[in-house]
Symmetry: C2
């Protein structure tokens, strides 16, 4: 018997309408819909986005991925999740994994699919691209992210401020993902470089709880949620 | 009378199903649908993506943007396009501009909307984010674009190879947009750095004419179309 296909579906940054037609079609066609389990009994972000579209005959499979830096604990979680997904794939049933943002861009799906392919090399994986948070944040801000010959740099989460120093020397536009844990140091560096007025933060882009800060000059110590994006326009383009 | 709203709708990289629900809804609701005019009488890319969704009562407005580097000619084209769009906005009619890829990411829409806002500061602009070509290319390749703490750099179109040298020293993943005009020099530099086997090219990602090259070792002189993305994995992550 043929095994099912594991689909990685990008469901976008938060606004439920920012899923693609293709992502939604495959999601609706799949026997099983998996997503990262929420914390404390609450539905997770991806689940909130896709929940309204799921039929009563579809199996919902929450998978636990701890928010920790412990690589052993993470590897164990991916292993367990991979086995849960394989249960269905091995029976020939398709599994659609709903993934917040874009599935290729710093996504949990990568670890799940790679763990599955290591355990069961016959696993067939297909992904559907989607809207990533930098594009969503730029749209919410009403600014272009990049134009003309601008060089764009993305830093995932910044543990060494030195990285940011290097990139500010090089790039025209810098995006800092998940900036909350290092915001204070980032602010100080942007102050030194006189870039605060050209820096913006978007919390939870496109969600109903979205918050925007357009000029960080008076914001040395913002308390930000995990999904916060900071955009710095290093070079002031006429556009 | 209130003026209409100018919507910048990201219609995605090429696959017609990669438009978002929100983009499609606003497109269908707008009185006028604008898009970059095709060349030689053929429908343009964005027009091909949205054509099937348009109703017979909607006004289709092709706008001419020459593919040149002449800034005077470009400014004249944006001015003319802005006036064409304003005709409708000033009558209170909404105009949806269909924009290939993502509207914030090296997009013609930026110039159109900024020209309009300079001419008519009362213009109201809203954008809908979408799938940009690097995400689409990664999905087509079946690889993650970035994982963990990887630093990502995007170069728009490379006129100085020195730029690429700098970025290869810094980034873990490098995306070169519209690489066709400089492909030969890029190939030579990647050869010197022994990165050819970790470099991929995707022509016209997600379109039916999509072509993929997964290892560039034997491809010193590819003839690529305008919409070609090159991805280099500088650092070999275990993921």
């Amino acid at each position: 018997m043929q095994t099912g296909i594991l689909y990685g579906i990008s469901v976008g940054p938060g606004d439920r309408e920012l899923i693609t037609l293709k992502g939604l079609r495959i999601l609706k066609e799949s026997t099983v819909v998996a997503f990262p389990a929420g914390i404390g009994g609450k539905p997770g972000f991806a689940q909130q986005i896709v929940g309204q579209w799921l039929g009563s005959n579809q199996i919902q499979l929450p998978l636990s991925f701890p928010y920790v830096n412990d690589s052993v604990a993470l590897a164990q979680a991916w292993l367990k999740a991979a086995e849960q997904v394989w249960q269905y794939l091995s029976l020939g049933q398709d599994v659609a994994f709903a993934c917040e943002g874009d599935v290729s861009f710093y996504s949990t799906f990568t670890y799940l699919s790679q763990t599955l392919q290591q355990l069961y090399p016959e696993t067939v994986v297909q992904t559907v691209p989607g809207v990533c948070s930098p594009m969503a944040a730029a749209s919410s801000l009403g600014i272009p992210l990049s134009v003309l010959d601008q060089r764009l740099a993305v830093l995932p989460a910044l543990y060494h401020v030195k990285e940011l120093e290097i990139v500010l020397d090089w790039a025209d536009v810098v995006v800092l993902m998940k900036v909350s844990s290092v915001y204070k140091q980032v602010w100080q560096l942007l102050e030194q470089r006189q870039l605060l007025e050209h820096a913006c933060v978007v919390e939870r882009a496109t969600r109903s709880e979205q918050v925007i800060y357009r000029d960080l000059s008076n914001q040395p110590s913002l308390k930000l949620p995990y999904f916060s994006v900071l955009i710095v326009k290093v070079t002031q383009s006429s556009n």
